[in-house]
């Protein structure tokens, strides 16, 4: 089995080989229930992801960026956090959002074109708004970490970012600031091999995790399709941050099985054989093989999760498609905390004009 091109170089931290055979210590401090829950989340997430692609094809979502193949990197990271820890995501972390308790229907308002940013409550869920301008969420994660540390709160902040986004200035500025302030945060790069049509090798000539050294923080390269390894590595980084040990940069090697988004045609730039080869490294098959061999999982439980995933996807679909366009008033609703009088006048005139328009000429 030939791993994806961008996995070359330094061997990542790995607990399970791609076929599920342990090659490291599988005791990561989770009881059987906790171990099973990692698999259950991955099964639910993958089913929902596929439902979203279908919803887009049926015109129920505008554009959807799928995460198939990246379930372990996201679920492993999210599961390693404490209840008060906070995540600042990119636009591809629906699996992490599920684990953190974000309502998927609210989340998907974004991709339905119903509302921007965080139509769920970022404070209540500890999950920041969906962030599309690449890398710009990373300084937010670092600032949040600096803020909670100033308050003496026991909170660790995770910032997700993609391989392509590490080319932006904001990545460098965030990582450097985090290190000099010893901010309690973990920067998780999901290196899925592609940034739209640009492969990792054309994005960066070195290994991403190694940059940590230049910033003066620990860096780790982990097999991002090995959920146990991701869980352990993130857990260690979170604990270090909690103890005042500062930030960690984690490069999780994974693979983007789908196109960049439903608007993208990956066949224009990517050999389909590469995708077929990458499927041999599937994170769910690897983990359930080990769980089963270790006696933590049986056929019936797996089948029950699959049924649960079916119902879950069906419920999300049903609730989502009910969602009509928001009222015109939302255009003006949350722009200012203290709306200036000029703004109020424009609001009134605009809503009147739009009302007239709806009434017809």
């Amino acid at each position: 089995m030939q791993p994806p091109e961008h996995w070359r170089g330094t061997e990542p931290v790995r607990i399970l080989a791609p076929d599920g055979t342990p090659v490291g210590e599988p005791d990561v401090g989770l009881d059987p229930e906790g171990l099973r829950s990692l698999a259950r989340w991955m099964v639910l997430a993958r089913r929902l992801d596929r439902e979203c692609v279908a919803l887009q094809r049926q015109g129920e979502l505008t554009v959807y960026p799928g995460f198939e193949g990246q379930e372990a990197a996201q679920v492993g990271t999210a599961a390693a956090l404490g209840p008060d820890d906070v995540v600042f995501p990119t636009f591809r972390e629906l699996a992490a959002a599920l684990v953190r308790g974000v309502d998927p229907v609210r989340y998907l308002w974004y991709h339905r074109g119903t509302w921007h940013g965080g139509p769920y409550d970022p404070r209540a869920t500890g999950f920041g708004p969906i962030c599309v301008p690449v890398a710009t969420q990373l300084p937010h994660a670092v600032g949040h970490a600096i803020g909670t540390a100033l308050d003496g709160r026991d909170v660790v902040t995770v910032g997700f970012i993609g391989d392509g986004a590490t080319s932006e200035g904001d990545f460098h500025e965030a990582a450097n600031l985090a290190a000099v302030r010893r901010a309690p945060c973990v920067l998780v790069v999901q290196n899925n091999g592609w940034a739209i049509s640009v492969p990792t090798a054309a994005q960066t000539a070195g290994e991403i995790w190694r940059r940590a050294d230049g910033y003066g923080m620990p860096g780790v390269r982990v097999d991002g399709n090995d959920v146990l390894a991701v869980y352990r590595v993130v857990r260690e980084a979170v604990e270090r941050a909690r103890r005042g040990g500062g930030p960690t940069l984690i490069e999780a090697l994974t693979y983007r099985i789908g196109a960049h988004s439903t608007a993208d045609d990956a066949a224009r730039y990517r050999d389909p054989e590469e995708v077929e080869r990458a499927r041999a490294f599937d994170p769910i098959a690897r983990y359930t093989a080990w769980l089963t061999a270790a006696g933590h999982l049986d056929e019936a439980t797996l089948a029950a999760w699959e049924q649960e995933a079916e119902r879950f996807a069906g419920r999300v679909r049903a609730e989502l498609v009910e969602q009509g366009p928001p009222p015109d008033a939302w255009l003006f609703e949350w722009v200012y905390a203290a709306p200036p009088a000029t703004f109020e006048r424009e609001r009134e005139a605009a809503l009147a004009a739009l009302g007239d328009e709806a009434a017809g000429p």
Binding site: T114, H116, G117, V132, A202
Partner: protein, 334 residues
Amino acid sequence: MSAPIATDRERGTAHTMVGALNAALRDAMRDDERVLVFGEDVGRLGGVFRVTDGLQAEFPDRVFDTPISEAGIVGAAVGLAFAGWKSVVELQFDAFSYPALEQVIDHVAKMRSRTLGRVEMPIVLRIPSFGGIGGKEHHGESPETYYVHTAGLKVVVPSGAIDAYRLLRRSIADPDPVVFLEPKARYWAKEPGELTVDGPGIGEAVTVREGRACSLIAYGAMVARCLEAADVVAAEGLDVRVVDLRSLVPLDDDALRRAAEETGRIVIVHEAPKTLGLGAEIAARVMELAFDHLEAPPVRVTGWDVPYPPAALEERYRPSVARIVAGIRRAVTY
């Protein structure tokens, strides 16, 4: 990889704006071997809108993908200009031009002046812009005011395929930096005609419909909407002029003056928010140029002063035909 979608000029068929822009880049690179094309996904993929489709195959050394680094891309274009290269850079979407603003404002726009005219910046920044395609957040913004407000830049916006070809060729040939804003909503609209550099240049507006009752002043995708609105009121016997600005910097003062003198009533239409949008500048200019000829205060039909909304609300934000018609009525009944 699929075949290039560049339109075949010889066939004289209808062109999409994407095809016309592709042809303009290809022809410019054939004519001038100092022209480079680079940016995110412009090489192998041919751009997320396929504007650069097939160019890398024809010019392997002069068309390349960059890392996702807008500030670095535009900064490199400045350095390349020092080395005598002419860069045509693609910034993938309106809002993703913002990380490069520092380079654009501090260097691209000012380098000529800072070097006493010794170093020119023949750079073209192509930015797919404006709304109307049901895009996500950050994919529908109107960034023109940021650029228009920066002295040293020229700013152009084509409204159709034929003019897109001409304007892009003119922009690449221009010794000054040009911000080239492409209305995504018009990318796939077809227009028959010949692709040629001949015709109106940068700084010249074009009257696309004659009329005396009032003048609609617009650019980009709003030109087509203004023509629709003009048709609606024509049915009531109002003949409305439609002026396609094409060039936001420099503005065509003569065309603005003529519109004010000959119709007396000015309606400005754009998607950008009202406050400090182009409408503010045009209203001020027509008052300076032809105050005595105005029969009514200039009317602005614009996006609201709010963040660009999600897809479900974007047509409640962009000026609709109905809102333009209402603007015409306000101007003519004043």
